[in-house]
């Protein structure tokens, strides 16, 4: 088990390193930060000075090694734009993002999974068809369209809720709604098919044949098995808590991580973008690790494979 854990953590570290390397190279090949930050009309002296100061004249591999060394010292660089540490810029945005993504995730799990399970248990009923229709609606409609529709209805026409900003809890309602509706649809549909698959398994028939009441068959035999694939999907959603709201934050002017991504990328603020990607990659990899361990708790077959 220890060996399995170590291997998993090593693999996670490797993933983060790959993401960082990829981001580093792509960012440096896709445009000159000096040009972008200083403007096209900047004098050559200023450009040269800027390049010199940020080490942009060194060969790429030297820049890369310097960057890695920094990271190992927990130095995530300084924003080229406002000169403050990149990590501070990123971290100060995290709470705002979590303030809308965490409630959205709770809604997805608390509505999506029960709806899907209920639909599976009442297959071909009106409720089942309703869940299927709602979930198709939920995950086919793009979030920016959904956001605009919600704004149009609840902010512009009905004037119940504000259309943007972060001043009160009422401002959070539309972003949360936009974020959760798609996920509820996906999770409902996924839970439904996972549950239907499990209900068709021979061991469910065995559980019924031994005289177990239907309620216990569902709770003790079907749900624990259906939970295994559902956990994977929820894990993805947890991994996307920090980075999953780029579009929604932009539309509702919500000052979270997503907005910072958009601004920093368009400004070629290398340190901030790199720092953002590092935080995002780390959060996703961490979520994945959690899913892996949850698997072990739910599925004895995997647990044994690991201890061997």
């Amino acid at each position: 088990m220890l060996r399995f854990t170590l291997a998993k953590i090593a693999r996670a570290g490797l993933t983060i390193l790959l993401v960082m390397t990829f981001a580093f190279i792509v960012l440096r090949m896709s445009g000159d930060p000096a040009q972008v930050l200083l403007g096209p009309d900047a004098p050559q002296d200023a450009v040269d000075a800027f390049r010199e100061r940020w080490g942009l004249n060194d060969p790429l591999w030297q820049q890369y090694l310097a960057y890695l060394q920094q990271i190992l010292n927990f130095d995530f660089g300084i924003s080229m734009r406002d000169q403050s540490p990149a990590i501070d810029l990123v971290l100060e945005r995290v709470p705002a993002t979590l303030a809308i993504t965490v409630p959205a995730l709770i809604l997805k799990v608390c509505i999506g999974i029960p709806a899907g399970v209920y639909a599976a248990l009442h297959r071909d009923s009106i409720a089942d068809r309703g869940v299927i229709m709602m979930s198709i609606f939920g995950f086919t409609i793009p979030s920016f369209v959904l956001a605009l529709v919600l704004v149009l209805v609840f902010a512009v026409t009905l004037d119940w809720l504000p259309s943007g900003g972060q001043d009160t809890w009422r401002h959070a309602i539309l972003p949360i709604a936009t974020l959760s509706i798609g996920g509820i649809g996906i999770l409902a549909r996924f839970s439904r098919s996972a549950m239907i698959e499990v209900l068709g398994q021979p061991y469910i028939r065995t559980a019924m044949a031994k005289g177990l009441p239907w309620r216990e068959v569902v709770w003790k035999h079907a749900l624990p098995n259906a939970a295994i694939p559902i956990i994977t999907l929820v894990g993805f959603m947890v991994g996307a808590l920090i980075a999953g709201a780029v579009v929604v934050e932009s539309i509702f002017s919500w000052p979270g991580v997503g907005r910072l991504i958009v601004v920093s990328v368009s400004n070629r603020d290398l340190a901030v973008v790199q720092c953002l990607l590092l935080v995002i990659a780390a959060s996703m990899v961490l979520a994945n690790l959690c899913v892996d361990f949850a698997y072990g708790l739910l599925d004895p077959r995997l647990r044994q494979k690991r201890t061997q």
Partner: protein, 325 residues
């Protein structure tokens, strides 16, 4: 009779459970097999799951490269997989296995699937293909009007006929059938077994017939090799091996066949289960389940020896004089 195919010291092993730091487990699926298949004969290979019989079949066809040992076809060593020579050999050797639905492409009509090998090996062109397909279909007992059907529109027995027709398209000299009738119902099974027999007799096909169903093997095979945990434990003409099995495992296997009209009396019930190939018992691999085993069986690996006209690997059999090599 000249041997068509010869296997010498075949070993196949797989590594499993390879982890980042752990050392891999080595599983020997086939553990030293010598076999000769004579031209025109049907050799049966029987054994339970995990005995390595399917792996052996794939190695005889050259679909799997043995870990060690070699397979000679017409006296020539098997060419390396995916070479030009190897590809040409595919036309001469064919495999039929248990699940015809998995072997067939569900989006192609059965005529197109039977025609495919003709086209791949450039054996027929244009109208000739249609004629050959019609002839093949007639040979395996498929109706003309079924040519445009898709696999799911046919019954299990008919699907297996399609697979057989496709295997015969290239006029192969050697056929490996891996559990070809196990998925079929009794009444249909007999139809397919009869078909395979007829084809074998008409064309003088050489066949290796792998099955766990001893009754079918008895019916179609000239000679039978019984496998246990990757080794041949007994090999004899099928007339004698079923009438008078010598190896204790063969005896148990034969007596375990439930016969209509006969109760459970007099059957040999083996203790325990076939062991995991990853944890092969020492000495004779069968000793933990054998009624005759003693201390020597746990240390000494019994060689496959001649015992009055048949080969058997058991220390407890009365020793017969060895034939000069």
């Amino acid at each position: 009779m000249s041997p068509l195919l010869e296997a010498r010291g075949l070993v196949q092993q797989y590594t499993s459970g390879k982890s980042l730091f752990g050392k891999p487990d080595i599983v020997r699926a086939v553990d030293g097999i010598d076999l000769t298949v004579t031209r025109g004969e049907v050799l049966g290979i029987v054994g339970e799951s995990g005995s390595g019989k399917s792996t052996l079949g794939r190695m005889l066809l050259g679909l799997e490269t043995p870990f060690s040992g070699e397979v000679l076809y017409h006296g020539q060593p098997m060419p390396a997989p995916r070479t030009e020579q190897w590809r040409r050999l595919r036309a001469q050797m064919q495999l039929i296995f248990q699940d015809p639905l998995a072997a067939l492409d569900r989006r192609m009509t059965i005529a197109a699937q039977i025609a495919e090998p003709l086209e791949i090996h450039g054996l027929a062109k244009g109208a000739e293909v249609t004629d050959r397909v019609a002839a093949l279909m007639a040979r395996v007992g498929l109706r003309r009007d079924q040519a445009d059907r898709y696999p799911h529109e046919l019954s299990g027995g008919q699907r297996q006929r399609v697979v057989i027709a496709r295997a015969l398209a290239t006029n192969p000299g050697f056929l490996v059938c891996d559990e070809p009738v196990s998925a079929l119902d009794v009444s249909i099974q007999a139809q397919v077994v009869n078909l395979l027999r007829d084809l074998q007799e008409q064309d003088g096909l050489t066949m290796v017939f792998i099955s766990h169903d001893l009754k079918v093997v008895r019916n179609i095979c000239d000679r039978v090799a019984v496998m246990y945990l990757g080794r041949v434990v007994e090999e004899a003409p099928s007339d004698s091996i079923f009438a008078e099995p010598r190896h204790p495992y063969t005896q148990a296997l034969v007596s375990s066949i439930p016969l209509a009209g006969q109760g459970l009396e007099g059957r040999i019930i083996l203790r325990g289960e076939p062991p995991n190939p990853a944890a092969r018992p020492s000495g004779c691999a069968f000793h933990p389940r054998c009624r005759f085993a003693d201390a020597s069986c746990t240390v000494q690996v019994p060689p496959l020896e001649n015992h009055g006209g048949r080969l058997a690997a058991c220390l407890k059999l009365p020793r017969a004089p060895r034939l000069a090599a």
